[in-house]
């Protein structure tokens, strides 16, 4: 498959280009570790008050914290994936150059973002997680199958995350203030993906809604698989559904955007 090799090369490039920022990576590891510590102490106080909040015991809640900190950059919950670059290319009109190349725009950026996410997982995710595991009592699975299932859910989460951010980036074709929109969506994503509190803690109707939104496929889904709180296959189906819906919507937006560029020059 000729084009398979192209997108593989794009993904490898995505991985390597983020790997060049060593100082940023180190700083990020430090930030995530500090944030993890703050959250652990907050959660400990909270779970002391209300044991088994959201169905987690304290060890599970603390594990959730370190999963969240480790996946923060990988899932780009707070932004910082390839979408900012894509938006910049749209804003400056450079996107026109991308259009005449014999490659699919969406697959190209998906590959680049997966490469990036892969680097963030290894470069920024592993260290805080190991730190958490060494310092605290974590509820970690002992069987390889659960770990493998967890990684599967992380991969799907990466695709869903890209699907959201690709749509946000393409909005720059129509909106002058797309950056503001992006910030709003990212903030929503930060909250709705369970970065502050696990989504199963959210009560009533709010909880129901938040747990069906695509952001719950990002952190909550893989974390629950790791904690043995959710059935992997059901989780995959939920994530897969959102991945398909978002990528299809992205493809439609891309079609409309391309027509616009081709007719109006951007």
């Amino acid at each position: 498959m000729g084009s398979g090799r192209l997108y593989l090369a794009v993904a490898v490039g995505g991985f390597r280009r983020y790997a060049t920022y060593r100082a940023a990576t180190l700083a990020g590891v430090f930030t995530n570790t500090v944030f993890g510590l703050i959250l652990v102490y907050t959660y400990t106080a909270l779970w002391d008050e209300k044991p088994h909040l959201g169905g987690y015991d304290l060890a599970q809640a603390v594990t959730y914290v370190w999963v969240g900190q480790s996946l923060f950059k990988t899932l780009a919950n707070g932004g910082g994936g390839v979408e900012s670059e894509l938006m910049e290319r749209i804003r400056t009109g450079d996107i026109a150059v991308d259009l005449y190349r014999p490659a699919d725009l969406q697959l190209w950026w998906l590959a680049a973002d997966l490469g990036r996410a892969g680097f963030e997982l290894l470069g920024r995710g592993v260290a805080p997680f190991v730190f958490g595991a060494l310092v605290f009592d974590l509820a970690l699975p002992t069987d390889v199958t659960t770990w493998a299932a967890f990684l599967g859910a992380v991969l799907l989460a990466m695709v869903v995350s890209f699907g959201i951010r690709y749509l946000v980036a393409l909005s720059a074709f129509w909106l002058l203030d797309a950056k503001g929109v992006a910030q709003m969506v990212m903030f929503t994503g930060w909250f709705c993906s369970g970065m502050i509190l696990p989504l199963n803690v959210f009560p009533g109707a709010l909880g129901e809604v938040v747990r069906t939104l695509p952001w719950s496929a990002l952190l909550q889904a893989p974390a629950d698989v790791l904690l043995g709180h959710a059935d992997p296959l059901g989780t995959y189906a939920f994530q897969g559904m959102w991945a398909v819906v978002l990528l299809a919507a992205g493809r439609m937006a891309q079609g409309a955007a391309t027509r616009r560029v081709v007719l109006q020059g951007g």
Binding site: G2, R5, L6, A9, V10, G13, R16, R17, T20, T92, G93, D94, A96, V97, L99, Y100, R101, P102, A103, V261, V262, L263, Q264, G265
Partner: protein, 337 residues
């Protein structure tokens, strides 16, 4: 094939621009960026496409690559309608936009080339061969491992040109390839393009607002302004058509009255000891310089090439005069009969 390799017939591009006109009110305006232009370029030709900023050069190039659909007219490149078969055409053309890069910003130059290898499905042997040749001709060997963001503008431009040629395109479009480059980089780029065209027979369409690019590279030049084709022919003819003038800037030892130069050369400006003389672009500067050096206390001098704006401005005057004359003649003819 009898048809030109690039065949443009009555092509136009009209942009709809919406402008804010007060609160919530939007005004629609049409910009005719390209206005019914026609030309043909034969295989292996090297043509300069020149005109001031906003003339419609980039719009034309975009239509030729297929990333912009014409509003009217007919356009073919190698028999292909670019906007309908953009991807198929992409394998046969190379494009360099001077102000945009296709290279991967944060990665070493070579990584971008590896991507081109995959993207255009270039057979391994041919990729190696082309890469080696381009690296040598464009002097890139030291730069292959340097991240693109660390390259100078001239180095990046050479890198971009190589990227556009790895898949052996039959035609290369260059949109302002020398813009912002220093003299040495400009010379390198020009030298390379001359060789590319002469030795590999690649058809080249070069957009610029620098007359020197054309002077050194193209035997044929097309001039566009306000979306209309003003001139299409040899460069020498352009100077005649525009009656363009070069400027000799002379620094004298002290402030003096305007130099008495032999006509048609004449002083157009005096500022202290510095004087500006205009003379026809088609004439050598040497006799004029010799005469001034012999008769005046000369400190320094330089020659300025005519800028394209001036040439075109003169062309306008000529054209309107011609049509006006033609109209009078017609009327006169009528009156007599």
């Amino acid at each position: 094939m009898d048809e030109g390799f690039i065949d443009v017939k009555g092509v136009e591009k009209v942009f709809e621009v919406r402008k804010k006109a007060g609160f919530l009110k939007r005004e629609r305006r049409q910009v005719r960026a390209v206005d019914s232009i026609s030309f043909r370029v034969a295989r292996g030709e090297m043509v300069g496409y020149i005109g001031p900023n906003g003339a419609g050069k980039s719009t034309t190039i975009k239509m030729l690559t297929g990333i912009l659909t014409p509003s009217g007219g007919r356009l073919r490149v190698a028999g292909i309608d670019p906007s309908r078969e953009r991807t198929r055409l992409a394998h046969r053309i190379g494009v360099v936009f001077g102000q945009r890069t296709t290279l991967w910003w944060d990665l070493p130059l070579i990584d971008s080339y590896k991507l081109m290898h995959r993207m255009y499905r270039i057979p391994d042997g041919r990729y190696r061969e082309n890469l080696d040749r381009l690296v040598e001709l464009l002097d890139l060997s030291e730069l292959l491992d340097v991240p693109v963001r660390q390259l100078s503008l001239g180095q990046r431009m050479r890198g971009d040109i190589a990227a556009a040629l790895l898949h052996d395109p039959e035609v290369l479009y260059l949109d302002e390839p020398t813009i912002g480059l220093d003299v040495i980089s400009k010379a390198k780029v020009r030298e390379f393009l001359r060789e590319l065209n002469a030795e590999r027979g690649t058809t080249v369409l070069l957009t610029t607002h620098d007359l020197q690019d054309i002077e050194q590279l193209c035997s044929r030049v097309m001039v566009i302004d306000h979306g209309r084709m003003m001139y299409d022919g040899p460069l020498a003819g352009l100077h005649e058509a525009g009656e363009s003038e070069r400027t000799l800037v002379v620094d004298l030892e002290r402030e003096l009255p305007p130099i008495e130069a032999p006509a048609p050369a004449r002083v157009v400006r005096v500022e202290g000891p510095r004087q500006w003389l205009a003379f026809p672009a088609s004439e050598s500067a040497a006799p004029l310089v010799a005469r001034i050096a012999a008769e005046y206390p000369l400190v320094d001098l330089s020659v300025r090439e005519p800028d394209i704006e001036a040439v075109i401005a003169k062309m306008y005057v000529e054209q309107t005069e011609k049509t006006a004359n033609a109209g009078n003649a017609g009327n006169a003819g009528k009156a007599v009969s």
